[in-house]
Amino acid sequence: MLSVSNLHAAVEDKEILKGLSLEVPAGEVHAIMGPNGAGKSTLSYVLTGRQGYEVTAGSATLDGEDLLALEPNERAAKGVFLSFQYPLEIPGVPALTFIRTALNAQRKARGEAEITAPEFLKLARAKAAELKIDFDMLKRALNVGFSGGEKKRMEIFQMAMLSPRFLILDETDSGLDVDALRIVSDGVNALRSPERGMLVITHYQRLLDYIRPDRVHVLAGGRIVESGGPELALELERAGYEKYARAA
């Protein structure tokens, strides 16, 4: 599934990722944990193609296909979805309009037929109910005036609607209370399947009580410095990131 090898990336000529390697096979959920400034968000932006994040060496492929050569929207059409740490507000565009435009653009890029309006609404109602999202909220401009928790829930709703193959969750737990965290985690867990891979980026272990990872990696100083099973997250929670400080 996702294969990242010796990835180096810079932002404004400052090297942030310094030889990061990572394999996430289909069907697995991997967590990336690390101190602030380790390059966690940079990794998510490099994988999704944000402007200003320059790859200077290494590779990133999804099922053997070079992601780095593709435009951000092409990567999305291949199934890469990023749940943003800080979801953007899109004034004037109702959430449903935005998501339908995205879904049809992805389908078109894959040579599939557009979804019809009734099919789309039926799907949206079902997914909104699962995520306990008030349907009227979906008629409002996307994320405008939404609380932090609502924005995160809207990310998961978009994820459920777009049904991506590879999910990247960037600090999805930030800004969520326990109830919202449970709803969001249920939504993510519902998407776990043998064909999907997930990368869960988080500073705290808390989220991983709800979304159980198969593997945990520690990102420090722009590289993966340690990998292990779920128990590694608990150890980090107890001991902190201090011992990795010299790597940074």
């Binding site: 999704t48 435009e71 999305a76 979805f81 979801p87 953007l88 899109i90 653009a105 401009a141």
Partner: protein, 342 residues
């Protein structure tokens, strides 16, 4: 001398230009060395349909300065009139249109400027609303890239009247769309909105002036625009609140997106307040499309061009949504989408 008088006299030196404070960004005198010969008469029957014909009870056509020039609404009457200002060819012409809406009359004016050629055209409108009259005026200015147009409306409100206007333009070689409102307060309401969508070397100038002369009046003003290529937009909005016009509530917003380095927006919002107890505010922003929002849309799978169009349409949509007349609103929305995606 007015623009109309200069055209009629064939006197290019009498046209307003950059030395006139109010016209410094829309210089006609520097552009027009010689006033063209008067435009010839047009065969109205040969014209294609106007953009709003299907929505109107009456269609009035003013062609190259000639034609029906009065709209009257009786007390309590309600109607929708399409007013088509048509210019063809390279000549010069000026026209006058008067609109009188009597007590409690209701009128929707669907006004279109339809130009082809390198003409010099002026249209003067006198719009008068009696007590409790309600008027919505929607102006769709589709001038030629070679045309020079000046439209000047004087609006006179009576207490209790409501006047709502949305002016939309794609610009011209040089174009000024001007609205001056005498606001008597007395719970009269005014909405004065605008949209400009300019490309290539087009120019548009939306100039408004509102004078609140007595207590209890409201003015809501929102203008938004998008400029690209080497286009140039001018927004001049002035609200004067005269001494004693207390409890005036006036809000003015002007927001522009500049989508190329060589495009230009000149904005002059002005509030002149001589009364003590008023609520007035204005906001003015000029900037580029939000790159973060653009990346967000692209991460969801929306290609760059479509994402840009979606975000700019939404930006303009805030103004379009304020149009009350629903079928006209949808025509306008289509016109906006075509310009932004075309």
């Amino acid at each position: 001398m007015s623009v109309a008088a200069a055209i009629k006299a064939g006197d290019a030196a009498a046209l307003p230009g950059k030395r006139d404070e109010d016209w410094r960004w829309t210089d006609l005198r520097g552009l027009i060395r010689q006033v063209p010969a008067p435009s010839g008469a047009l065969d109205i029957a040969a014209l294609p349909a106007g953009p709003f014909d299907a929505l109107a009870d009456e269609v009035l056509i003013v062609a190259n300065g000639e034609g029906a020039a009065h709209i009257g609404v009786e007390p309590g009457e309600a109607k929708t009139v399409a007013l088509r200002i048509v210019s063809r060819g390279d000549g010069a012409h000026a026209a006058r249109v008067s609109v009188d809406v009597e007590v409690s009359g209701r009128l929707t004016i669907l006004e279109s400027y339809e130009g082809e050629g390198g003409y010099l055209a002026q249209t003067g409108l006198m719009i008068s609303l009696a007590k409790d009259a309600v008027v919505e005026r929607i102006v769709l200015a589709a001038d030629d890239a070679e045309g020079v147009t000046v439209s000047q409306a004087e609006v006179d409100l009576a207490p209790g009247a409501s006047f709502a206007q949305t002016t939309l333009t794609g610009g011209a070689r040089r174009q000024r769309l001007e609205t001056r409102v005498k606001h008597p307060g007395g719970h009269a309401d005014l909405r004065l909105d605008g949209v400009y969508l300019l490309a290539d070397k087009r120019h548009a100038d939306l100039t408004t002036s509102v004078t609140h002369s007595a207590v209890d009046g409201t003015t809501q003003q929102l203008t938004k625009g998008v400029v690209r290529d080497q286009a140039r937009a001018v927004f001049q909005g002035k609200i004067i609140v005269a001494e004693g016009a207390d409890h005036t509530d006036a809000r003015m917003g002007h927001h522009a997106l500049i989508l190329s380095d060589r495009a230009e927006v000149d904005a002059k919002p002005e509030l002149e307040i001589y009364a003590d107890d008023v609520s007035c505010a204005h906001g003015n922003t000029v900037g580029a499309l939000d790159e973060d929002a653009l990346f967000y849309a692209r991460q969801r799978g929306i290609p760059e061009d479509e994402a840009r169009a979606l975000l700019t349409e939404a930006f303009i949509g805030e103004v379009v949504d304020r149009i009350d007349h629903e079928p006209a609103r949808e025509i306008v929305r289509g016109w906006v989408a075509e310009r932004l995606r075309g």
